[in-house]
């Protein structure tokens, strides 16, 4: 089941004395948080409009509407900001939002359960899908057509074909 609300940023410590805050974005493009309009808390009771934002080291320095002093900014520290899933534009063919994939059931070609999708990673060498099996440690698999031939978000499942592994020489097993 895809998430209905998606966390796009977290408010951090205040920056300066005029109400600016550090904003830690979770979007692919850090400045994309400006494109989604007002951002709300998870319960939807409070919303914040980002007025200005500039990039700093690993985060943004942003001003929020109605926050004019450092004391106001300090009170917001740690608040996570969400948007509705509907606000995201439709992905291109063959692309999937991480938020849509996380939580889907992982099954094999015979429709037997393997586990569920825990996370999607990218460490610079292709997307990796992390599966939490029914028992035991998690599996890290390449997100390719060969290993993940079917992604059915509507049905809430991904089909996984576990790849064969060629064992290397484990240095821990070698005679020293």
């Amino acid at each position: 089941m895809p998430a209905e609300k998606i966390c796009v940023a977290r408010i951090g410590a205040p920056h300066g004395v005029r109400g600016a805050v550090k904003l830690w974005p979770f979007t692919a493009d850090p400045l994309a948080v400006l494109d989604y309009g007002p951002l709300s808390t998870k319960d939807g009771k409070r919303s914040f409009e980002v007025e200005t934002a500039r990039e700093a080291k690993g985060h943004l320095v942003a001003t929020l509407q109605g926050v004019v002093s450092r004391e106001d900014a300090e009170r917001l520290n740690g608040i996570e900001l969400y948007i509705d899933r509907d606000q995201l534009p439709p992905p291109e063919e063959g692309e999937y939002y991480h938020a849509d994939l996380i939580g889907l059931a992982a099954v094999n070609a015979a429709d037997e359960p393997i586990g569920k999708v825990l996370a999607i990673h990218n460490f610079g060498a292709g997307d990796i899908i992390e599966i939490a099996p029914l028992q035991g440690p998690t599996l890290l698999l390449p997100f390719t057509n060969a290993v993940v031939p079917t992604v059915d978000i509507a049905a809430g499942r991904v089909v996984i074909e576990l790849p064969a592994e060629i064992e290397g020489d484990d240095p821990a097993q070698a005679d020293i």
Partner: protein
Amino acid sequence: MVRSVWKGPFVEGSLLKKADVARSSGRHDVIKIWSRRSTILPQFVGLVFGVYNGQKHVPVSVNEEMVGHKFGEFSPTRTFHGHSGDKKAKKA
């Protein structure tokens, strides 16, 4: 200090053999390796290696841009778990 050019790139010998086996098999096998210090060579392009990070073997799909780098660069030993945000994944 950089490595002398006359020595050539360092690659664990066993890794070359495993790459040959994977390439000849024609399947999408993952080659489990522990040698994070080995250099990625042009003949590894298109193969998938499972590079050990101290806990797990992280899948590394080798492409042309990765040639000359070390395997360990693509298998971080410390992971940050953040929110997914609007990030997208594309099937290769």
